[in-house]
Symmetry: C2
Subunit: 195 residues, 2 copies
């Protein structure tokens, strides 16, 4: 089953690459690292993803689709805004938990390495940031309108603020304090938007 096998391998490569990217970053990993994890030869990875840039781009593309899909599901639910917000934060919390406290958001990591990335990847990254801020704005605005959230200022700005904080808090929590600290920070954040 050449086609099916190939697809599985491709997914396995993407999975391994993503996990490595989230812990060590783009400049901290090599095809050899991925090869060791997936148990496939280095050259075979090049067959599926001819260059490292293309591989990173593919990982990022898949990550964005998945992540924003989860966010959209949260938004589509009929939960009240504070619950939606909690669930949104839960996505980040889960990443921190699943990676044994060593993984951060892929886009936070790549954001730090921005100078090493190429055009399609950078554009994807920017879009990811914007899409998240946009969705948070939506949740916040709706929550405020229904009196379930309370904060001053534009919902758009607060949305960006929430997103920035989550990315920053993940980095800091990984270095010091772990999930526990992350939760203390997000609880405080929720309090500050009146949730």
């Amino acid at each position: 089953m050449a086609v099916a096998m190939g697809t599985d391998t491709k997914t396995a490569i993407l999975d391994a690459a993503q996990a490595l990217l989230q812990t060590r970053g783009a400049n901290g990993i090599s095809y050899q690292h991925i090869s060791d994890t997936v148990k496939i030869r280095k050259a075979s990875i090049h067959y599926h993803f001819p260059t490292k840039h293309k591989l990173i781009e593919a990982v990022l593309r898949r990550y964005c689709v998945n992540f924003l899909g989860l966010v959209d599901a949260i938004i589509a639910s009929d939960d009240p805004a504070p619950v939606k917000l909690r669930k949104y934060i839960g996505l980040f919390d889960r990443t921190l938990r699943n990676g044994a406290g060593q993984k951060v958001c892929l886009c936070g990591m790549l954001g730090a390495e921005l100078a090493s990335l190429r055009s399609p990847t950078v554009t994807l990254l920017q879009r990811f940031y914007r899409e998240n801020a946009l969705r948070l704005e939506k949740i916040l605005e709706e929550g405020r309108k229904r009196g379930m959230l309370r904060f001053d200022g534009e919902a758009k700005t607060v949305g960006m603020l929430v997103f920035s904080l989550l990315e920053g808090a993940m980095l800091l929590a990984r270095a010091d304090g772990g999930v526990k600290r992350f939760r203390r920070l997000t609880s405080q954040l929720l309090r500050m938007v009146g949730a």
Copy 2:
């Protein structure tokens, strides 16, 4: 003047390394990059800093002392808390501006690359985070006591939140929106602590 010359070179190496670290990260730079910038041979860098880890550690150590020194000066002034907070944020703002929008806080960058760092560097990084949170707590608590700041929750937690946001906002602003976006985020932050 062997001694004086050596000191200057050492400083020049630290300066170049820091600038490169803030834009490209630890895994994104090499002794050759520094050599090109400082106009000294690669081997001469090894004379001053035998290994890359030692060099990074030295850069970080100097950065922490400088940065915390500036923060302490802000705290020691008799400005009201909201002004102190603004000045503190100004330190990050300046980094973003000076680096033509390409530099982020050294400790935010190294935080992302945590998995590639070694023990003394990691410890320094953790200390830097704690020291900043501590100083912010001080400013926040004092401001609230005097009625010049208004927020719910522990000052300690809010201090960590402010710091996390600043680190996160720098990363995001560099990728998308620049200094302008950074300022919009920090203005909103100030608003949320009643400044």
